[in-house]
Symmetry: C2
Subunit: 315 residues, 2 copies
């Protein structure tokens, strides 16, 4: 299957009863600082605090009754785990979540709070995959990958569809890139719905594998990434890379300083709790590597899950 606008529109209809249609907010002091009209698509206000709920929800509600009865499974220590657990609970089916045993207690508690069935494993990629395979063998659950899954990509694309419908005449949409689920969904939706709108990604300079992948023309794995934007550590996937290569104009790398400053600015002036990964596209506006002055810029604020006891400007 090749993903098209039709699948993203179907996803939008499928998740509508469950997901928030998040607001698009503006902030005069942000506009004044960057010299553009900025429209913040507030996925930090989405269920579970991140866009991840869209993709997980679309995947879960795409299952046939027979598939659904066996549940869903994934390995994740982040927002996808919570998103899949909540989506599964809403459908009334089990979610089996494999988490590394060193995952923070607060994240384990959040997944459990949404009804997820947690299996802990050693904190290695091999252990995560082996444990997930074992869980699937025992349960017959459907694996829902955090980004390399067309149902997930289609779900993530629904945020851009809403943004494009709510804000006419956008010139650019900025999104962060980690594994590329949000970015590929955003790019597909945007180019199909409104081809003249440019799609540009932000990526931490300390985790610039997507930037290097575009330059190399093939997936360059993320090795030892160093960034506060802990949602953007992973490599691109075999499904997300070709979409990004085709539809994304540019990936702009941003410094840690710019990420932290952008995050604080959004908290202070826009009054929105955004996580470092979600501040990355705002940091693109800070860096000045591309000239967006005078343009109408949509920004996907991807998530707002942070530890309030450890804020980066207080480290």
């Amino acid at each position: 299957m090749t993903l098209t606008l039709a699948e993203i529109q179907a996803a939008a209809a499928r998740i509508r009863p469950y997901a928030h249609r998040t607001p698009v907010l503006t902030c005069q002091s942000l506009d004044a600082r960057v010299g553009a009209q900025v429209f913040l698509k507030c996925e930090n206000l989405q269920k579970v605090g991140a866009f991840k709920f869209r993709g997980a929800c679309n995947a879960v509600f795409s299952l046939t009754a027979a598939q659904a009865a066996r549940g869903v499974a994934t390995h994740s220590s982040g927002n996808h785990a919570q998103a899949l657990a909540l989506a599964a609970r809403l459908r009334g089916i089990p979610a089996y979540i494999v988490m590394p045993e060193n995952a923070p207690a607060v994240k384990q508690a959040a997944v459990a709070g949404y009804g997820g069935v947690i299996t802990l494993c050693a904190p290695t990629q091999a252990a995560r995959e082996a444990t997930l395979a074992q869980v699937v063998a025992e349960t017959g659950a459907e694996v829902v990958h955090p980004y390399n899954d067309e149902r997930v990509i289609a779900g993530q694309g629904t945020a851009a569809l809403e943004l494009l419908a709510d804000v006419p005449d956008l010139d650019v949409i900025l999104a962060p890139v980690g594994g590329g689920g949000l970015l590929s969904g955003t790019a597909l939706a945007t180019k199909a719905y409104s081809p003249r709108v440019r799609v540009i990604a932000g990526e931490p300079a300390g985790a610039d594998d997507a930037f290097r992948s575009l330059a190399a023309g093939q997936i360059v794995p993320s090795v030892a990434p160093q960034t506060i934007a802990d949602g953007l550590l992973t490599s691109l996937g075999t499904l997300t890379f070709p979409i990004i290569r085709q539809h994304v104009e540019q990936i702009v790398t941003v410094s840690e300083t710019a990420i932290i400053d952008a995050m604080r600015f959004v908290w202070e002036r826009a009054k929105l709790v955004v996580e470092p990964s979600g501040a990355v596209p705002v940091a693109v506006l800070w860096e000045g590597k591309i000239d967006l002055r005078g343009l109408r810029v949509g920004v996907i604020l991807s998530g707002g899950n942070v530890d309030l006891d450890h804020l980066p400007w207080q480290l």
Copy 2:
């Protein structure tokens, strides 16, 4: 003049080109915690980060051309000063702001950033009033009191009008009370527009002069208030007290612990930056002094101006 729904509706039309129609957001984990359906009216997302912009804007745009030409004036070290400065700038007239010389530099800078003309004075109520009188004598500016002004009360009431229009079948609206501008406007709007909706206020136990005023049947001044909710330190006014006495069902006092806990919960789970004063009505839900379980509860999150370097759960 006696304030009626007509004045509040006129205020709504007057400020519409300038103020945000702030979103009403919901948060499942908040609902789950308090056992009610809670609708957050996000005045922290209003211009200058607080509902205060509504009243200031209504006052400024109510002036005749001749009045407006001489500008507006007030003494304030808080959100009202910024709100009045911005409203005046939008009308292209001067705003003279008297501030105590010990007002934080960041607040002075914010007022100056909105184009306010600052006159510093000694940090006493007498000095503030004398300095304001002098400024008015020199300029002929119109004084806009932060709350004891019908134009301001009518403007603050527009937030409740929007909330009532956006959320059908509310049972209760909760608002914080300091000088009573927001509460009296909210109560007037609510009782005129939808009389069956109950209006209940939250007030810090350490600044409970409004609670005591209702009990005494007359204004009890606020003396040496002690609370983190620094927007709620003032006494009720001669205009706000009678409206509150007539239309507000109850004032619920809340502890400092409840305020801080409610504030943190809103940041962590609703992803909204709310200041302590804005968390006070959420703290009413925490305290359990009144039974709101099973009800549809509107909460006015009054503002989001905080110092991110000094968060109360880190003191």
